[in-house]
Symmetry: C3
Subunit: 167 residues, 3 copies
Amino acid sequence: MVQTEKRLAELGIVLPPPPKPAANYVPCVRVGNTLYLSGHIPLVEVDDGTGGKTTTLLTGRLGNGPNEMSVEEGYQAARQVGMNILATLQNELNGDLDRVVRIVKLFGIVRSSDDFNEQHLCVNGVSDLMVEVFGPERGVHARSAVGTNALPLSACVEVEAIVTVRE
Amino acid sequence: MVQTEKRLAELGIVLPPPPKPAANYVPCVRVGNTLYLSGHIPLVEVDDGTGGKTTTLLTGRLGNGPNEMSVEEGYQAARQVGMNILATLQNELNGDLDRVVRIVKLFGIVRSSDDFNEQHLCVNGVSDLMVEVFGPERGVHARSAVGTNALPLSACVEVEAIVTVRE
Amino acid sequence: MVQTEKRLAELGIVLPPPPKPAANYVPCVRVGNTLYLSGHIPLVEVDDGTGGKTTTLLTGRLGNGPNEMSVEEGYQAARQVGMNILATLQNELNGDLDRVVRIVKLFGIVRSSDDFNEQHLCVNGVSDLMVEVFGPERGVHARSAVGTNALPLSACVEVEAIVTVRE
């Protein structure tokens, strides 16, 4: 087992299966040593009640109004997006996350009511995960956190990423 | 005529004129073999009623409320943005789209009411166009689809792109 | 004093201190000769009333409704974001902005009411600043301008940037 995967085990993290796009795009495109990752959303594997697994999506909106979520729930949802990003990376890198050189940039979009202004505290969920897993030198990144009124499938958060890797 | 332009003709696609920014920016910046394209909006050339052409913009909002558009209209608008992106690429590459190596990433922003959640189905309009024109190896890309409450000039969709090219 | 810094002086520009992230991310990550800058917001240094300086943030929303701002105010706020971006660049480049090769791309997000559609006129504030400081060859960039209903800390505008540099 490689070092980064050992670290995942220490943290008690079990990655979900890598997400599969349902249209004419892919989760990740590589240009030289740079990976461009598609916008990922907080998919979660849960028991389906019959001994199997099914995938569900964390939906809702931060701030006041219908489907209200707390900042802590937004933080956990952003962390879950990070799990999906790690699953895509692991799949792209043939199971070896040690090949990640640097999490370069994250762009996090939080579904928000008009008066919600703590998107940055939610996006910390994915930022903190990257530093926990890759350590400060490889995991600390540039980042933008913004709000929006609407996201696909009513996801509460979406994150895209740029990552450098080695052979 | 080069191969990609032959493919455009087979598809019956006539590209609009490349868009011209009205301020201190350009439609495209090249760094090495990577093109960074500005956000493009759905400009359409239409007859001006006197035998000439004029350019109009597809405006509106997906979901419920004023200027409501259907998902199919959003799809067609995103496809039209793709036409404008192709026009910018063709202009940048001296008329030779064969020099496109890969559509790397698209970022699609759909103007949405708060409860609209099918932005991904709209952005498929530009994703499908890229695969029709460039084929799966060069045309399939990473992508993010998000919503927003407001876009410049009330455009219904805006898309930016990263594209790799060869000499 | 180097040329770009002379130009700043000619323009009467005094840069604010470079912004410091309050979480697990950094203002800027370098990959080869490319800098990826985090989303910057309009922080301003003001007198604190006791002879010192304090930092405040330009908050509000473009368009109709509470905390309404004019397009001119939005333009000035975007220009102020540009000041913060320049401060980050200067800090990253050990005080020498002559090492900036090209402002490659800006992504500007303007906090907007649902009917506001002049985000591009606001984002011109940062675009114009880059061309004033770096001149047309280094300063003209690709760019996207979009709206959103919500931003961190109620900032009225946020801008991220990609910049190429030399040793």
